[in-house]
Symmetry: C4
Subunit: 232 residues, 4 copies
């Protein structure tokens, strides 16, 4: 479908996830270094993340689709827009890119390249928050593609801007990013032992969104009949 061969699509997924994670982790380090007000630190974490998402999805989307997120690749595999083999390669590229992003952020801030997080993020409320975060992200992507494909980079950037604040977990919503963030003991970190709960919750939220949006976005019988006549 893409005019780009698989190696370049995987490079785009790895590069995009790396820059996304470098932004999340790097801006978190910058923010907590500069202020003691945690709301201000979260703002200094939110705006760069939302902004870079618009950029990365616009410039890499035409190459790989700009998933940067195993939950999103899973949804596209379930929709048969990605083969299982492609999806596996995508996920591997995303995880590798994400970890490289953490290392890059640490190197720029003169920190040890990898450092397991001690920040506890667990419990039912946090898991619900992650499920909601991933639900909203996938719903935004699927309806955005249906109704206004050109706006998708903006929609995702704005959605994550909101979700950083309205979900109690600050909206990871992305298993590859969660893994990469388990390797930084800074503002945006998560304990490695808390990863399974987050990843499971994100996957559930994504699948629920796929099911709900399949119903909500389905062409109606009437519309299909009209379209059928219109198509020769």
């Amino acid at each position: 479908m893409s005019e780009f061969d698989l190696p370049r699509r995987l490079a785009a997924e790895a590069l995009g996830t790396a820059l996304l994670v470098a932004t999340v982790v790097g801006s978190g380090i910058m923010a907590e270094t500069l202020t003691k007000d945690v709301a201000l630190a979260l703002l200094g974490n939110t705006l760069p993340t939302g902004a870079i998402l618009v950029v990365l999805i616009t410039i890499l989307g035409p190459i790989s689709g700009a998933h940067f997120n195993p939950a999103v690749s899973l949804v596209f595999a379930l929709r048969r827009e990605l083969t299982p083999r492609e999806a596996l390669f995508y996920v591997a590229a995303q995880i590798a890119g994400g970890i490289a992003g953490t290392m890059l952020a640490h190197a720029m801030f003169a920190l040890p390249l990898l450092d397991a997080s001690l920040k506890m993020r667990t419990g039912g409320a946090q898991w619900l928050a992650e499920a909601v975060a991933a639900f909203g992200l996938v719903a935004t992507i699927l309806a955005g593609i249906r109704f206004n494909r050109a706006a998708v980079p903006w929609l995702v950037g704005l959605y994550i801007t909101a979700a950083y604040w309205f979900t109690a977990s600050t909206s990871f919503a992305n298993p590859a990013v969660a893994i990469a963030r388990s390797l930084t003991n800074t503002f945006s970190g998560i304990r490695p032992t808390d990863l399974p709960g987050f990843i499971a919750a994100e996957t559930c939220g994504a699948i629920i969104a796929l099911i709900l949006m399949s119903w909500l976005l389905r062409e109606s019988d009437k519309a299909r009949a009209v379209l059928k006549e219109a198509r020769p």
Copy 2:
């Protein structure tokens, strides 16, 4: 008019209002938890609300029109773009969705699901502010639809971003959201007893906007004559 059947339109109204309220209430809880500076808390409440409005109106607008607001549905009913029956169903879906949104936000932050607000918001200045807030919202929507329909999600998101700060009431501008916010005793709450004043003021503001914009946006006689000739 919409290719979508009524059940899905109502689902879109309920889902959109739920996510809107979850954002307003959730980001308010996040903000007041993280900082003691109320201006910063309001900023942490404003940006997510403006951002999610752009997203929700873009992705759900093609299904239901993305009112999420009984005052807006009333305006469209008065313009005969919604039957009275549809409008009633819309309002019911908005109120139900809004309350679900409060419950969702509370669940994510591990709070009791519903908790009546104690925050007093009443008096002539507050009611004027709400009337202005709803006036501006409806004027934005009606003129936006007339001149640049594709921009409406952005216009509404930006308008509310401004109105959170320039109206003394932080711009509820929405009876369904006001009801939902009466059930949270957090940053964004409003005492249930203060609801009637807010809802009456919002309705007045919306109707004044409808009247004023009907005059301001009316095609001139000359333009109508030109268009009449142009149309066979």
Copy 3:
């Protein structure tokens, strides 16, 4: 040129200037009420102003051109896109609308409707800042119209967002808004005695921009020749 008659164009100028001033003054009151940090207050003043400009220019621009600013109307009069008579009516509508905006903001915040400002804003550096602010605004509008008319609301909103911070005067850049702001003794006020200096500086900046951009944007001889041949 506009399909709208003069009364409605003047109503659009008055309404737009009123809502613009209500936003500037109202968000200033809100901000200084909520925080002691002046940078945060300026941020709470900047974001609503930038946001409402995008909205107001989009929804009222097709009616009146959305000047909301005597310096801008002067520029269009000098470019002969507005007759002197129209320009005078525009300026009167802008000043009247601006004063109404201050009164509206005060009423919403339960303050006396009008209250002369005591905030000193004078001296060569401030005047330079106002000249630069108006220069940039007019340059943005003229080049925006030439190259990307649909983007002008965004360009003006973003320009003012920047100019609030990079000019030492926080960028009034607008004689009608300056007059309206002389009548509020709050965050955004200016002493009435400081008005002449501001208005003179803004007018100078606007005219310099008109001259410079006339040269910079002029079609080259070659381009004109090509266009001449292309036009029958």
Copy 4:
């Protein structure tokens, strides 16, 4: 290629770089004057810079390409879209404009026109940060031009908004701006002796981006074959 002659293209480069630097330096002065919280000051520096970039690239891009940056002009010279002579003139205009921008900001804030910075910015981590900043900027520009040219002003503005926070150096990413910022002893300054390291790092980052994106964006053989057939 441009319909504009070289003098006007150079004027656009000088004017744009001057206003960009005036924004960076001026908003830095405003911010550090108004608050003691450094994160808030950085936010007050970030938002104006991102906003003015969108404006300047939109209004001056059609004249000169809106590089405002010797590293970007170098990349376009290497791509043979600028002759070496044009590139040299561009760089001279950018440096002269940048210095004028610092002087303008100082004059508006009633400071001595030029004042060498004492702020140390050096060492391997800072240089890595600058290389990453310039890499991301050039990658954004090249892919943006390829896939969505109209969005480039937004992409650059958003990229720099993010890079101010995720790079440890707050993302100068521009040798002409760095030179201009060495002449202000305020928030955004850099010691003149630290310039060579920054400029070298930025140049390296830009060239690496050119190489990587040339591979990533290359039309595939298949696509080229299809296009070849399509073109007569």
